[in-house]
């Protein structure tokens, strides 16, 4: 077991608790934007893809890494974009006719 494994487990468990607490209190109205937003946040795997591609260790790892960069970054861009588009649509009665 690598030395950082146990602290990774702690972080995972604590983040899981936060996930449950926070998601439970997301407004029911916003469950579709929630799916889009978590999608965009999860696209942070782009970080790992950049490292894999950027280390340029073998041609294979570079190519796979680059595909992963493109795939996850498209999620990041698209995810934030559509979440914001959806949320802009939610208006209160009094905001409706400004």
């Amino acid at each position: 077991m690598p030395s950082h494994f146990i602290s990774s487990v702690y972080v995972f468990v604590l983040a899981g608790f936060i996930g449950f607490e926070v998601i439970k209190h997301v407004s029911r109205l916003l469950h579709t934007p929630l799916m889009a937003l978590t999608n965009a946040l999860d696209a942070v795997v782009v970080v790992a893809a950049i490292i894999i591609a950027g280390r340029a260790q073998t041609p294979l790892s570079t190519i796979l890494g680059l595909v992963a960069v493109a795939a996850s970054f498209s999620n990041m861009v698209g995810g934030f974009l559509i979440t914001d588009r959806m949320l802009r649509m939610f208006k209160l009665s009094r905001q409706k006719k400004p």
């Binding site: 690598p2 449950f20 579709t32 790992a48 490292i51 970054f73 999620n75 861009v77 649509m89």
Partner: protein
């Protein structure tokens, strides 16, 4: 700056990103703060990406920038799809996320191999199996939702056995690899078999069950990102993956509860879930139907109307016509509200997004618990393309497949009007006794056309 300092700075940047991600989700707790949440998420993502680019391990910047550019070019249109295409877009983006997680795991394997530890091999295999099955599973789901693939469940004899055997094969191959990390030739098989399992997992499930499947896949994708964080010792991946994973998990639990179906049933892939064919409509019962003119007259005589929208409204893209109806009735002093069932439509929150898109203020959207006490005081319940979520058999008929599912109490309103094209059943494939009540009027037709006709009638034939 020393290398160590750079590493610490990157670690703190990742911590900042994590905090922003958590705040992003917290602020989704209300529509008033939700856009701030998106901003927090965006800043967090930017911080994480920029900090990574500062990583001294990175030497090949040029191609990374090209790949980022391609990602942005692909991502833009996927962020601009119409609201009705959101379910398949979500499935597609899960496929991208899973693809990326699987590719990173694969490439990490080939970089480390043959000096890979057993523990590292175990982490990578698990990560690649989950990433791989989520990739193909999400693609199939997207295909079904986009109606590129057949929507009906595709089943055959012994299917559970075949699917489970394939999963078992992947696990066995992975175990051999863990014990003998040198047997590198086995690794491609692990990948291929897990891809195959994703196909076998989702194909048998009917198109209408896709939302639950998508949410589950969401949580698998989160899990694979978190596993990647374990493999690469990257905490931001672990946290983002855990958040994504719990979100998908909670949404699928909510859906299962609202459908009164067991969670384990879905958890294990809803193997062999066969759609029960339309129940025989009992003979000798009659329905009353009405014209747009009748409906318009009843609506304008009402003082309170509750609209119960469903999947049919989404299919017909009737939300903008519904907004016109809302406007014209509100202007006449009728109190119009919307009752939103948690699984109305084909994904969680589906109706809310469509109605918000059509500019209906969100304080007029009541969730089921708030709406049900209101129905007894309502003059008219107007059901638009909803079926199962209004079916009173769920309350009374212990033999019904939806028995026990909480429903919208539309039948408590003084008059019920139902817009749909026929008497044919909805997703659950069962007859709806609501249509045979004395107080019910069926308004047969396409939702968009029929609502448009009512609006024209109310406007005195002059509008639209």
């Amino acid at each position: 700056m020393s290398l160590l300092t750079v590493r610490y700075l990157i670690d703190f940047a990742y911590l900042l990103a994590i905090v922003l991600f958590i705040l992003a989700l917290r602020w989704l707790s209300s529509p008033a703060t939700a856009r701030r949440g998106v901003l927090a998420g965006e800043i967090g993502a930017a911080v994480a990406v920029l900090a990574t680019l500062a990583n001294p391990q990175i030497v090949a910047y040029k191609w990374i920038l090209v790949a980022l550019l391609i990602g942005a070019i692909v991502g833009m249109p996927l962020g601009l799809v119409p609201m009705t295409a959101v379910p398949q877009r979500t499935a597609l983006s899960h496929a991208f996320g899973a693809l990326s997680a699987a590719l990173i795991g694969i490439s990490e394997y080939y970089v480390r191999e043959p000096h890979i530890t057993k523990f590292g091999m175990a982490e990578i295999s698990l990560e690649v199996i989950i990433g791989g099955l989520s990739f193909t599973g999400s693609l199939i789901a997207a295909g079904k939702l986009q109606e590129v693939l057949p929507q009906r469940p595709i089943t055959y004899r012994g299917q559970n056995f075949v699917s489970l055997s394939v999963l078992g094969l992947a696990v066995i191959l992975a175990l051999i690899l863990i014990l003998h990390p040198g047997d590198a030739y086995l690794f491609p098989f692990v990948v291929v078999v897990s891809l195959l399992f994703g196909v076998l997992l989702v194909t048998p499930i009917g198109g209408a069950d896709m939302p639950t499947v998508i949410s589950l896949l969401n949580s698998y994708v989160g899990l694979s990102a978190a596993l990647l964080g374990f493999v690469l010792n990257n905490k931001v991946l672990i946290v983002a993956g855990a958040l994504d994973g719990s979100s998908g998990f909670i949404l699928s639990v909510i859906m299962c509860r609202a459908m009164n179906r067991s969670f384990t049933n879905v958890m294990f892939g809803a193997f062999g879930q066969v759609q029960s064919s339309a129940a025989a409509v009992e003979q000798g019962r009659t329905v009353r139907s009405a014209t747009p003119e009748d409906a318009a007259a009843i609506l304008s005589a009402a003082s309170s109307v509750i609209v119960a929208p469903g999947y049919g409204m989404a299919v017909a893209q009737a939300q903008h016509k519904v907004r016109e109806l809302f406007d014209i009735l509100t202007k006449r002093g009728v109190d119009v509200k919307f009752a939103i069932h948690p699984v109305a439509g084909r994904m969680p929150g589906h109706m809310n997004v469509l109605l918000a898109e059509a500019d209906i203020p969100y304080d007029k959207l009541l969730d089921m618990d708030a709406a049900n006490p209101e129905f007894p005081h309502a003059d008219v319940a107007l059901v638009i393309g909803a079926n199962d979520v209004t079916n009173p058999a769920a309350r009374t008929d212990a033999g019904s497949p939806i028995y026990g599912m909480p429903i919208l109490d539309v039948d408590k309103a003084r008059t019920v009007m139902v817009i749909k094209r026929s008497l044919s059943p909805g997703f659950a494939g069962i007859d709806n006794p609501l249509y045979y009540l004395d107080k019910t009027l069926m308004l047969f037709g396409d939702a968009k056309t029929f609502v448009g006709d009512i609006v024209r009638e109310l406007a005195g034939g002059s509008s639209a």
